[in-house]
């Protein structure tokens, strides 16, 4: 009779332990899952918002044949700074990392040899925005 009582206690302890263990595990897992999800979601929304707030144009671009440089003027008119990372000239990639603050016009230059013709100049930002302009050389 007494043994039966002990085993019941043990059994109860085991059940409680299992319940706590599983519960803790599940809870910890869910905390991590939620935290990851929240972080991921927050980052994505933040990036999307920033992408929408970033606006810029190429105001003017010209090619200086004397020193073989392409000059590109970028105007940032968004709510946040434009983070320019690259310029493409007819698809040819040039890394140009610069920040253009709101209401600022900044000049970028690209060393490139161009012959006469029409070229597509594309400025891309870190946030995935871009602006294209054709330049007559």
């Amino acid at each position: 009779m007494n043994k039966r009582g002990v085993s019941e206690i043990i059994a109860s302890l085991i059940i409680i332990t299992i319940a706590i263990g599983l519960g803790s595990g599940l809870y910890i897992y869910s905390l991590k899952f939620f935290a990851d999800f929240r972080s991921s979601m927050g980052t994505k929304l933040s990036l999307a918002t920033a992408k929408a707030d970033e606006r810029f144009i190429i105001t003017y671009s010209y090619y200086n044949s004397t020193d073989s440089t392409l000059h590109v003027f970028i105007y940032s008119y968004g709510d946040i700074e434009a983070r320019i990372v690259a310029i493409y000239v007819n698809g040819q990639h040039f890394e140009k990392e610069t920040i253009v603050n709101p209401d600022e016009i900044k000049e970028l230059t690209v060393s490139i040899s161009l012959s006469s013709g029409t070229y597509k100049v594309k400025v891309v930002s870190e946030r995935g925005n871009s602006y294209e302009k054709y330049v007559e050389v």
């Binding site: 019941e8 059940i15 519960g23 927050g42 999307a48 929408a52 105001t59 209401d103």
Partner: protein, 639 residues
């Protein structure tokens, strides 16, 4: 057994607690995500609005005027929203500079001039770029060029749709402004803004400035709208609803009813309980001008009892099918309102010409009570359009309208009438001259017979009216006649034109040095001696009375009876001739019949005829008030 059950119960509680914790965590995550999503959505909406405004923004560079320390750039906001100019760029072949202009604000339909200080040299071909805070760009290549004149206008023009800022007049010029059918409000010239020329022109008309301007001036022309008009047909519904279409849905009824409110009115009603419906009264109308202002006016009368919901709107649909709710009213309950007048400024809707549509919308939902009903009357619908005029400024003229004379005898006086003259001169006023050139058709030589210039003082007999001492451009009115009357050639041309019969063409050339221009001119026709008829020879001039026979021209039409005014022409050496015996008399009327010979007496009162052997005698033949024939009679005096 009880212990096992108890421990199971504890385990359940523990598990439940964990489940609760997990759910609570998930809920907090949900709240967080919802908050983030709301923030993101707001950001997206703001971004979308910004993109929309970016597209709605519309402005252009009208003019660039150089100044001592830079230039003035004139920008016109042609859009429906405010424009803020962020930068002005100056782009030359060798340099690109952007100048921050501190977000200059330009209201819709306004023009703003921004002064830009720069040390850059602006030459022909320099691009002036204007950048707005929404990232839009407008450019102008210096110098600005005048737009092409509209069809039917004879001048090169500068077009001012509504108003201009100051526009450089780079040449010395007289200004003529023309306006196409509306009212010209004012022309303001020039440097000091002190002089306003206020003109009202109905129909096509124009005015010229009264003086010339030398140097680089600016000019402002503003045209305001002409009389307002209402393109809405039958807006008063006086006797019917013609011109309007109506559509009803649900339980709504609509129609025309004699309300004794300026005749009748149209209505939309839901006349029974627990019913709902809506109805539209619509009309399309054309607006063929962009107005300077537009005002919607209408009256409504709404009565209802226990209405659950009513909603009324007046909507204007523009040519791009965009709907503009310009007035709305909604509510519930009962209403016994009388006629209410509404007026709304709808100028911002009429930004383009085309077909518009006005919609009078009514929606009524009645309640359960037996007497529940609703009804709205519409009346006196009008959209008052005040036209926006275009005005035209010109300072060009051509020389194609110079008058010419055929078969002018060498020493015949003539009349030239000028009107509507405009000139361009690179010199001052005194440089104007009038040249009369005769073409000797036998030799092809052009001989200048006479010229007058501005600083010259013609004799009192050489100009008319007022014995003007200068040929002053300002004396040429736009609506009258400036009369130049030559009594004789300034130069003796006898050596140049030995045979006057060969002097077939005389041209009057109005000239200003280094200039060109146009002038409407008309003139008396004159005839060569070869056309003269019946040379009358006077054998002696020592008696006082002569009888001269003059044959009436056989070229006249026999179907007409003419009256001839005999005008005695003053010729060289101040011969004065008088008709009849009742001296002095300078003219007389004689009835002439077809192919009739007229005999008249000449009484010569003053005969200092020491060297005169010939003079001319002019007949002007009228039909009504119009000269149809002039006859010169050569009188030759024989000793």
């Amino acid at each position: 057994m009880r212990s096992t059950l108890r421990s199971r119960g504890i385990g359940t509680l523990v598990a439940a607690a964990f489940i609760f914790l997990i759910l609570a965590t998930a809920f907090s995550l949900f709240i967080y995500i919802a908050s983030q999503m709301r923030s993101y959505q707001e950001s997206m909406i703001a971004s979308s609005i910004a993109r929309g405004e970016e597209l709605a923004e519309d402005f252009k560079v009208n003019d660039v005027v150089l100044t001592a320390d830079g230039f003035n750039v004139t920008i016109e906001n042609e859009g429906s929203i405010q424009v803020m100019i962020s930068h002005v760029g100056v782009i030359t072949d060798s340099q690109v500079t952007y100048i921050d202009v501190n977000d200059t604000l330009i209201e819709p339909h306004e023009t703003e001039t921004i002064h830009v200080e720069t040390t850059m040299t602006i030459t022909n071909g320099t691009i002036i770029q204007v950048i707005s805070t929404r990232g839009n760009i407008a450019s102008l290549k210096y110098p600005p060029s005048a737009p092409t004149a509209p069809s039917g206008y004879r001048f090169d023009v500068l077009v001012y749709p509504e108003s201009t800022a100051y526009t450089a007049v780079l040449r010395e010029t007289f200004i003529k402004v023309e306006i196409n059918g509306r009212y010209l409000a004012w022309v303001q010239d020039f440097e000091d803004n002190s002089t306003n020329y206020v003109w009202t022109v109905t129909g096509v008309g124009g005015r010229s400035t009264a003086q010339s301007y030398t140097g680089s001036y600016s000019m402002r022309v503003k045209a305001i709208g002409g009389p307002s008009f209402d393109p809405i047909e039958n807006g008063n519904f006086t006797s019917d609803a013609s011109g309007w279409t109506n559509v009803t849905l649900g339980d709504a009824l609509s129609g025309w009813e004699n309300t004794s409110h300026s005749g009748g009115s149209v209505y939309v009603s839901v006349p029974e309980k627990k019913a709902s419906g809506n109805g539209n009264w619509t009309q399309q109308f054309n607006v063929n001008i962009v107005p300077s202002s537009a005002t919607l006016t209408f009256n409504y009368n709404f009565t209802c009892n226990s209405v659950v919901l009513y909603e009324f709107k007046v909507i204007i649909i523009d040519p791009n099918n965009a709907e503009h709710v310009v007035w709305s009213l909604s509510g519930s309950g009962s209403n016994e309102a009388d006629w209410t007048s509404v007026s709304r400024d709808v100028t911002s809707i009429f930004l383009t010409t085309g077909t518009y549509e006005i919609v009078l919308y009514a929606s009524i939902i009645t309640g359960p009570p037996a007497f529940s009903q609703g009804k709205i009357y519409w009346d006196d619908i009008g959209i008052w359009i005040t036209p926006l005029s275009s005005s035209y400024a010109t300072y060009e003229f051509n020389s194609t309208n110079n008058p010419y004379f055929e078969n002018l005898p060498s020493n015949t006086a003539f009349n030239v009438y000028f009107k509507n003259g405009t000139f361009t001169s690179s010199q001052d006023q005194s440089s104007l001259s009038i040249h009369l050139v005769i073409n000797d058709t036998s030799t092809g030589n052009l001989t200048e017979l006479i010229y007058y210039y501005g600083g010259m003082t013609p004799s009192s007999l050489e100009s008319n009216p007022s014995n003007i001492t200068r040929i002053y451009l300002g004396n040429i009115p736009s609506d009258g006649q400036w009369h130049f009357f030559s009594r004789k050639w300034y130069n003796d041309i006898s050596a140049n034109i030995p045979n006057p019969d060969n002097a077939k063409i005389i041209r009057v050339h109005l000239a200003v040095e280094a200039s060109n221009g146009s002038l409407e001119a008309f003139f008396d026709s004159v005839h060569s001696p070869g056309e003269f008829i019946n040379i009358t020879k006077i054998k002696s001039y020592d008696t006082s009375t002569y009888q001269i026979s003059i044959a009436y021209s056989n070229k006249t039409d026999e179907n007409y009876v003419y009256n001839a005014t005999v005008t005695l022409n003053e010729t060289e050496n101040r011969i004065m001739l008088f008709h009849g015996t009742a001296s002095p008399e300078e003219s007389a009327k004689i009835s002439l019949n077809y192919n009739e010979t007229v005999f008249t007496n000449l009484y010569v009162s003053v005969l200092p005829l020491n060297s005169v052997t010939k003079f001319y005698y002019l007949y002007k033949i009228y039909e009504g008030g119009n000269i149809v024939k002039e006859i010169y009679v050569l009188v030759e005096i024989q000793s």
